[in-house]
Amino acid sequence: MVDKAAGKRGKAGKIALISTALVFMALFLLLPLIIVFTQALSAGFGAYFSSIADPNVQSAIWMTLIIAAITVPANLVFGICASWCIGRFAFPGRNLLITLIDLPFSISPVIAGLLEVLLFGLNGLLGAWLSAHNIQIIFALPGMVLATIFVTFPFVAREVIPLVQEQGNEEEEAAVTLGANFWQIFLHVSLPKIRWGLLYGVLLCNARAMGEFGAVSVVSGKVFGETDTLSLAVESLYGSYEVQAAFAVASLLALLALVTLVAKSVVEFLVRDELAAMKRKRTA
């Protein structure tokens, strides 16, 4: 309808707008993506695969996977808890709590790293105690995980809370009157209602956790082959002028980004389908 109305008014204007937007997107979004792959393959497939097979890069892949494997479930559980109490109950201070959960979004990742250093670093609050007990957090995996959790803290919660608020509690309350306990309600009533929102949040959280640079860079100590993640390996290689190898590692992260985007589009498509079906059911 809108399209028809717009179509009647000058076609030239429409084409000009569309082409300006598309040229902008091609230059600004598509080109950076393309150059990652052309640079990665600039010395042929042999060089590409040998850059990735490098033991230091392999260890970076493992570090990245381990950090994501801890961060994502932690934020998933937190997101579910937060959405249960904030989304389903009305209590004073609820909006303040939402604001506090969103806080890490407006804090620089570098500051996220700095916070962990102030807490656990050698001169930090717990530094003396930790070194007396021989526990290493900064310049090691635990610090990198904590910094990543900080940076990705709101990701799942902020996808699910609005969803829960929109859906309301009717079905859950019905389940209570039928005598269901908490776990029965959660598993059989609530979880199916929020599953796509959860998946969406997890996808975004995972992409950020695997790709985080600033926060992790501050706490990692950057020991190539030990505490390097893929993002940090990109920096180390690029900094030592191994440009093709840096882009080869970057291409792995770019592939992850592409997979995330495709999965995200699929989830959005499924959600739209489900919403349409729900609407049909309601009007029928």
Binding site: R9, G13, L30, P32, F89, L100, S106, S108, T177
Partner: protein, 290 residues
């Protein structure tokens, strides 16, 4: 239990009770977990940072944050974030408008591509952009004949910031454009208004609050960005160095106090700006009744 279901919650209130009135179980546990986890991960560390700064004393704090280098880097950060967010307010609105209003081949692909900066790690964006805009790069070599240099210059900071913050504007504005009602626009068109007049007088005021929200989100993101910028900026002190880079340098020299003071300054500046933009947004919303 069934009684409480049929009666609206406020009638159940006997005096003040903080615990919400609901038949659903699990409030206490989920609330406790949320609060404790928030405290451990976010609020506790932030409190420690403020406590560290308080320990410095006011004079030392002011002395650290008013050095020419800190002030200049702050100015560079703010200026670049402003330019990038303004540029994206224009391009983001254009992209959002085209993606929602027009049907054209490749629209779904373009729509998915908007989220690329959310999904692409910043280090990857950084090396890709600096290779593209280097004097001998695909885009840099086109600009050099005109005397334009982007990579390793202050302009590089703006380009990287634009890349990472574009989706914030597009994704905030898009749902509002989708919900715009065509009736007003069509009525204005029948009365002979030009397309531009219709857009400026009717569509833009309705979009403005969302555009401001997107601007604020983009600005905050730009101000804190580190990963993509370090590769393209050249990081020359007082010329193309942003505040997060300065914080990292202080930390590299184990100057915890310096890093913390600058970090607190940065937090204060970004919260002040967000507050201003929120107030501005409330004012716009009130004025346009949207």
């Amino acid at each position: 239990m069934s009684a409480s279901l049929s009666v609206p919650a406020p009638h159940l209130k006997r005096g003040f009770r903080w615990r919400p009135v609901s038949v659903l179980p699990g409030f206490g546990a989920s609330f406790a977990i949320t609060l404790v986890w928030l405290g451990i991960i976010v609020l506790g560390p932030l409190a420690v940072m403020l406590w560290f700064t308080a320990g410095m004393g006011w004079e030392a704090f002011l002395g650290t944050i008013t050095t020419p280098r800190v002030l200049m880097d702050l100015w560079i950060s703010l200026r670049s974030a402003l330019y990038a967010s303004l540029a994206n307010a224009f391009f983001g609105l254009l992209v959002a408008w085209v993606l929602t209003r027009y049907e054209f081949p490749g629209r779904r692909f373009a729509d998915a591509l908007v989220d690329l900066p959310f999904a692409l790690p910043t280090a990857v964006a950084g090396i890709a952009l600096s290779t593209l805009y280097a004097p001998d790069g695909w885009l840099g070599s086109l600009l050099t004949p005109f005397g334009l240099q982007i990579a390793f210059q202050p302009a590089g900071i703006v380009v990287a910031m634009m890349f990472i913050s574009l989706p914030f504007i597009v994704r905030t504005v898009q749902p509002v454009i989708e919900d715009l009602e065509a009736e007003q626009e069509e009525a204005a068109h029948l009365m002979g208004a030009s397309d531009l007049a219709i857009f400026i007088r009717i569509s833009l005021p309705a979009i403005l609050p969302a555009l401001l929200t997107g601007f604020a989100l983009a600005f905050a993101r730009c101000l804190g960005e580190y990963g993509s910028i370090i590769f393209i900026a050249g990081n020359r002190p007082m010329v193309s160095e942003i505040v997060p880079v300065l914080i990292v340098q202080e930390l590299d020299q184990f100057n915890y106090q310096g890093a913390t003071a600058i970090g607190v300054l940065m937090l204060a500046v970004s919260f002040l700006l967000l507050l201003t933009i929120n107030l501005l947004q409330a004012w716009v919303r009130k004025r346009h009744g949207g």
